[in-house]
C-alpha cells in the first residue's frame, strides 16, 4: 500500500540526488517527485492495477529522452514511457517503480508530405489531432481507436492500436513507415524511414506492438490517407443478439468489406443514450453500425447489399444516417461507450478477446452466461467485423469480493476465446493485465522466442519491466532472465512487500 511516510524515510537523500540529475537533463519543471503528484500517475485507463513511480519526467526531445534513459541505465532504474494514459492493460505503469517518461510535451507535427502521403510526428501527439491537422487538405490518419480524442500516437505504436475502421484499413502497424527510437540503452536509432521498404529485418514491424519494452519512439512516420469521396453509415436494429451476430457473417458472405462493422448491445445503448442521446433505440437487443466508404459511384448498390443482408438476418429496422451530423452522433455514441458505463456502474473491466467471426453467436452467448454465473452484469460494444470482442464487466470496487469475481469471469472469457481459435487481445495489449493469460494461446517455446527477441532490444530488462510475459508475482519474467532483486531494492531504496 502506498505510504508517503515510508517512502520519505527510505529515499530522501537518494531521491534528492536523482532529482537533481534529472533536472539537469529536463529542467526543474520537467520532473515530478512529490508523492501527491505521482499519485495521479498510478493507473492508466484500467484502474484495476496501480503502481507508483519514483519520478515522472517530461522530456521535450529525443536527446533528452536518450539522456534520461542513459541515467536510468547507469542507476539501474527501470523506466517506462507514458502517453495520455488511456491504455486498458496497465501497459504504461511503472510496475517495478523507477521512472515514468511522460511524452506529452513532445506533441508536434514535424512534417506533412501531402504528395507522398505521410506525416512525421512526435509521440505525444493526440491521434485525432493528426487528422485535424491534415484534414483541411483532404487527408486523415486511418487508425481510430475509440480513445482517439485523447490517446497519443506513441501509445498507439506501443499497443499497435486498432479501432472500428481497422476492418478495412488495418491497424497501426499497417500505417507506420518508420520510427526514430531511443533504444533501451539510450542510443538513438532510426527503424524504417519515409519510404515503403528498408533494408534488413522489419524492425519497425516488430517494434510496433512491443508495448514499450523495445524502446521509446521519439519520431513517428505514418501514412496519411485521402479522405474517401463518399461515406454511408447504416444502423441496423435487432431484437435478438443472435440475429445481429449472424448479420455480421452475412455481410462478409456477400463479398463486402465495409470500413467498419460495430455491434452495441442493449445495456450499452442505454448508457450512451443517457450520455449523449445519440439515436440508438433503447429497446433494441443489439444494433449494428455498418459503415461503407469509397467512391460515390456504386455506393448505393453496396449499401443496398448491406441493408438486404441485415434484413435477411432478421433486423427489425435498417436505416442510413441522414446526414453527417447524424453519422457523427452515432459514432460519438459508439466511441464514448466505455466511459458511458460510468453512468451505470462505478467501475468496469473491459476484455479484448478476438475470435473468428463465424464463432460470434456461440461466443456471445457463452460470455453472457459466464458473467451471469458470477452474478455480474456485462455490456458488449465491439468491432464485430473483426471478431474483436469487448465484453465490459460492470462492478463496484467498494463491494467486497466483487473484484475477485470480475477477474475470475474475465479469465474464463479469455479461455473461451482461446478455445475457439482466437486471441486474448485484439488491440488493448497484454500489459500487466493479461500477462498471466499468455499461456492460453502461446507455448513455452513461443514465449521463449519472444523473450529472445526482447533480449535483442532490451537486454537489461530495464525498459518497461514486468509486462507482456507471464509472471508469478508480477516481477518475475520467464525465459533466460531470472528473477533478481529490483534495482532500487538492491540499492536499499525500497523493499518489496
Amino acid at each position: 500500500m502506498y505510504n508517503p511516510a515510508t517512502m520519505a524515510a527510505l529515499t530522501a537523500t537518494r531521491k534528492r540526488e536523482l532529482r537533481r540529475a534529472l533536472e539537469a537533463i529536463v529542467g526543474a519543471p520537467g520532473v515530478l517527485s512529490d508523492p501527491d503528484e505521482l499519485l495521479v500517475y498510478e493507473s492508466d485507463g484500467l484502474t484495476l492495477f496501480r503502481a507508483l513511480a519514483d519520478f515522472v519526467v517530461f522530456p521535450t526531445s529525443a536527446e533528452q529522452v536518450s539522456a534520461v534513459v542513459g541515467l536510468a541505465n547507469r542507476e539501474r532504474m527501470p523506466f517506462v514511457a507514458r502517453g495520455a494514459g488511456t491504455g486498458l492493460s496497465g501497459g504504461c505503469l511503472p510496475a517495478e517503480g523507477g521512472l515514468v517518461l511522460s511524452l506529452m510535451r513532445m506533441n508536434r507535427v514535424l512534417e506533412v508530405d501531402y504528395e507522398n502521403h505521410f506525416a512525421v510526428v512526435e509521440p505525444g501527439l493526440v491521434n485525432l489531432h493528426l487528422s485535424w491537422t491534415v484534414g483541411p487538405r483532404g487527408f486523415y490518419y486511418a487508425p481510430d481507436p475509440s480513445s482517439q480524442q485523447a490517446c497519443t500516437l506513441g501509445g498507439n505504436i506501443a499497443n499497435n492500436s486498432g479501432g472500428p475502421h481497422t476492418l478495412k484499413y488495418g491497424v497501426t502497424t499497417n500505417h507506420v513507415l518508420g520510427l526514430e527510437v531511443v533504444m533501451p540503452d539510450g542510443e538513438i536509432v532510426w527503424l524504417g524511414g519515409r519510404t515503403r521498404e528498408a533494408s534488413g529485418y522489419d524492425l519497425t514491424g516488430v517494434f510496433v506492438g512491443s508495448e514499450g519494452t523495445f524502446g521509446i519512439a521519439t519520431k513517428i512516420v505514418v501514412r496519411i490517407l485521402k479522405k474517401p469521396q463518399a461515406v454511408r453509415t447504416v444502423l441496423a436494429v435487432f431484437d435478438q443478439i443472435d440475429q445481429a451476430s449472424a448479420a455480421v457473417s452475412a455481410i462478409i458472405a456477400r463479398g463486402l468489406v465495409p470500413a467498419a462493422v460495430e455491434m452495441i448491445d442493449q445495456l450499452t445503448i442505454q448508457a450512451v443514450e443517457d450520455a449523449f442521446g445519440c439515436g440508438y433505440p433503447r429497446d433494441a437487443a443489439a444494433a449494428l453500425l455498418v459503415e461503407l466508404d469509397g467512391l460515390a459511384v456504386g455506393m448505393e448498390a453496396q449499401a443496398a447489399r448491406i441493408v438486404e443482408a441485415c434484413r435477411d438476418a432478421g433486423a427489425r429496422e435498417v436505416r442510413a444516417a441522414r446526414d453527417e451530423a447524424e453519422r457523427q452522433l452515432l459514432w460519438k455514441g459508439r466511441k464514448s461507450a466505455f466511459g458511458a458505463y460510468g453512468r451505470v456502474s462505478p467501475a468496469y473491466m473491459v476484455m479484448d478477446g478476438v475470435i473468428p467471426r463465424t464463432k460470434l453467436p456461440y461466443v456471445l452467448r457463452r460470455v453472457n452466461e459466464i458473467v451471469a454465473a458470477h452474478g455480474l452484469r456485462v455490456g458488449n460494444v465491439f468491432h464485430a467485423g473483426d471478431g474483436n470482442l469487448h465484453p465490459n464487466i460492470l462492478y463496484d470496487p467498494r463491494t467486497p469480493g466483487e473484484e475477485a469475481r470480475v477477474v475470475a469471469a474475465g479469465a474464463e472469457i479469455m479461455k473461451l476465446c482461446a478455445e475457439v481459435g482466437g486471441s486474448i487481445s485484439g488491440e488493448h495489449g497484454i500489459g500487466l493485465e493479461k500477462s498471466d493469460f499468455m499461456p492460453f494461446i502461446f507455448s513455452a517455446a513461443d514465449l521463449a522466442l519472444m523473450q529472445r527477441l526482447k533480449n535483442a532490444f532490451n537486454p537489461t530488462g530495464l525498459c518497461n519491466p514486468g509486462k507482456v510475459f507471464p509472471t508469478k508475482k508480477s516481477c518475475v519474467e520467464v525465459g533466460p532472465v531470472a528473477h533478481r532483486p529490483h534495482a532500487i531494492e538492491e540499492k536499499g531504496l525500497a523493499q518489496r512487500f
Binding site: 499519485l39 484495476l48 495520455a84 506529452m104 489531432h129 466511459g339 460510468g342 532500487i488
Partner: protein, 441 residues
C-alpha cells in the same frame, strides 16, 4: 516504499457520502478513468501534467475526500489552476459533474488554505465588497474612468511602474476595459415594451460588472429582444448572482446572493430570466442544485433555475424577426465556456449569425477553448491565463476575421486585451451588438 502492483485494494468503505467542506463530491465515483477528457483540458494541453488534467483533478479530489492525501500547497495549486471551464464535462461520457466537484474543492481550499493577507484582501475586495455592492462597483468604475481619462494610465503603463504593482495587479491593470463615459453607464430603463406581436415577458439580468462596464450590451440586448416581440423588465433590486463567489470557493456568500437574486426576480412575474453573461447564466441554471439542501428555498430555486435562458438560446427558438439589414463583415465566433460547456449552447449563436445578411462567419480553431478569462482567473492565475490568451489570439488571427463575436463580457475583455497587445485591428463584439447593428444599421 513498496513497489507492488496491487489489484486495487478495496477502497475503505466510506463512512458516508464523499464530501469536501460539507459539499458532496460523490460524483467522483462516476469517473471510470477513461481519460477521454484529457485533450479537451486547456491546462493539460499547456502543461502536459496529469495533476492539471480533469481526470487527475478528479482523482485528487477523490483522494482528498478519502483522506489519501492532504490538502498540501501542491495539491491546492493544481486544483486552483483549474479554469472551471467545464470543457471536460462536454466530452465526459460518464457524466461526471465536474463543475460541482471543482467548486467543492475550491471551497475546501478557501477554508483550509486561505493564503496570506494580500490574497485575503484581494478576495475581500472582489467577492465581499465590489461584487456584492453594485453602487460601490459603480464608484470604483468612476475612479477607473478618471484614471484612464487623466492620462495617468498611459503614464503608469509607459513608466514601467506597472511591474512594481504587487501580485496580480499588473494583470488587473492591463485588463482594465475602456470605461464608458458617464452617459454609457446610466442604468437601463425598468421596462422595454415589445415591438410587434408580443411573444412573452422576460426579465433581464443586468449583472454587476456587466451593468457597469458593458451597459451597452444590456441596452442592445433589450432592443434586440424587443424587436423579437419580448417585453423586457429589469428588476431594480437585483444584484450579483454569486457565480464568481461560487467559482472562487466563497460558498457561503454564493448561497446568500442566490437567494437574493431569486427573490428579486420572482417579483418580476416574467416567463423567463434572460442572461447575456455566460458564467451567470450557467450558475443561475444550477441554483436548484446549489440550494437543494435548503428546504425553504429548494423548490423556489428549481423553479427559478428552469426559467433561466441565455439570450442566444432564447432568440434562437424562432427565426429572427425581420427586417435585418446587411452587415458586410467577416467574423468568427468564440464560444464562452459557460455558454458552450456550462449550458451546452453551441449551435444557437451560430444559427443567429447565419441569419444576418452579408455576414460571413468563418470557423475558429479551438473555438470552444477557454480564452483564459474564466471569471477572475486572469487575475488569480495571470501566467496560465496569458498562455491561453496567446493561443486564442493566434487562432483568431489565423481566421483573418475582422471581428470576433462572442457572448460574455469576461471573454470580450480578455480577447480585446490580447489582440491589442498584438497590435491586431480585430474587434471583439458581443453577439447582441452585431444583432443590434443588423436591426439599427
Amino acid at each position: 516504499m513498496a513497489h507492488t502492483i496491487e489489484e486495487r485494494a478495496p477502497a475503505p468503505a466510506p463512512a458516508g457520502p464523499l464530501s469536501l467542506h460539507g459539499l458532496s463530491v460523490e460524483g467522483v465515483n462516476q469517473c471510470v478513468h477513461c481519460g477521454l477528457c484529457l485533450a479537451s483540458c486547456p491546462t493539460f494541453a499547456e502543461l502536459g501534467t496529469e495533476m492539471d488534467s480533469p481526470r487527475g483533478r478528479i482523482f485528487l479530489i477523490k483522494s482528498l475526500a478519502e483522506g489519501r492525501v492532504a490538502l498540501t500547497e501542491g495539491t491546492a495549486r493544481h486544483l486552483s489552476l483549474c479554469l472551471d471551464c467545464r470543457a471536460c464535462e462536454t466530452v465526459c461520457p460518464a457524466g461526471v459533474p465536474y463543475g460541482r466537484l471543482i467548486e467543492a474543492a475550491k471551497a475546501a481550499i478557501e477554508r483550509e488554505r486561505p493564503g496570506g493577507p494580500g490574497r485575503r484582501a484581494f478576495r475581500w475586495l472582489n467577492f465581499g465588497l465590489l461584487l456584492g455592492h453594485p453602487r460601490l462597483l459603480a464608484l470604483a468604475a468612476a475612479s477607473l474612468r478618471l484614471y484612464q481619462a487623466s492620462g495617468l494610465q498611459s503614464l503608469v503603463r509607459a513608466s514601467g511602474l506597472v511591474r512594481l504593482l504587487p501580485g496580480t495587479l499588473p494583470a488587473w491593470e492591463a485588463l482594465l476595459p475602456a470605461m464608458p463615459a458617464a452617459a454609457g453607464r446610466v442604468p437601463l430603463p425598468p421596462l422595454h415594451p415589445a415591438e410587434g406581436a408580443r411573444r412573452a415577458r422576460v426579465a433581464l439580468l443586468a449583472g454587476c460588472v456587466q451593468s457597469v462596464v458593458f451597459g451597452a450590451h444590456n441596452r442592445a440586448t433589450a432592443r434586440v429582444l424587443a424587436k423579437n416581440g419580448y417585453e423586457v423588465v429589469v428588476p431594480a433590486s437585483q444584484g450579483c448572482c454569486g457565480a464568481l463567489n461560487a467559482h472562487g470557493g466563497d460558498h457561503a456568500r454564493a448561497l446568500e446572493m442566490a437567494r437574493r437574486t431569486i427573490a428579486a426576480f420572482e417579483g418580476a412575474r416574467a416567463e423567463a430570466v434572460v442572461v447575456n453573461t455566460s458564467g451567470c447564466g450557467a450558475h443561475m441554471k444550477a441554483y436548484g442544485h446549489l440550494l437543494g439542501g435548503d428546504p425553504a428555498w429548494a423548490a423556489r430555486a428549481r423553479r427559478f433555475a428552469a426559467s433561466v435562458r441565455d439570450v442566444a438560446e432564447l432568440l434562437a427558438q424562432a427565426p429572427l424577426r425581420g427586417p435585418l439589414a446587411p452587415v458586410p463583415m467577416t467574423v468568427t465566433y468564440h464560444d464562452p465556456c459557460h455558454v458552450v460547456h456550462g449550458q451546452k449552447i453551441r449551435d444557437e449563436p451560430r444559427r443567429l449569425l447565419a441569419q444576418i445578411p452579408e455576414l460571413t462567419v468563418v470557423d475558429l480553431a479551438e473555438s470552444d477553448w477557454c480564452c483564459g478569462s474564466a471569471g477572475l482567473y486572469n487575475l488569480t492565475e495571470p501566467e496560465m491565463a496569458g498562455r491561453l490568451l496567446r493561443r486564442k489570439v493566434g487562432h483568431v488571427l489565423a481566421t483573418g476575421a475582422e471581428a470576433v463575436v462572442t457572448a460574455n463580457p469576461g471573454c470580450i475583455l480578455q480577447i480585446q486585451q490580447g489582440l491589442a497587445a498584438h497590435g491586431a485591428p480585430v474587434r471583439v463584439l458581443h453577439i447582441v451588438e452585431i444583432l443590434d447593428r443588423a436591426y439599427h444599421a
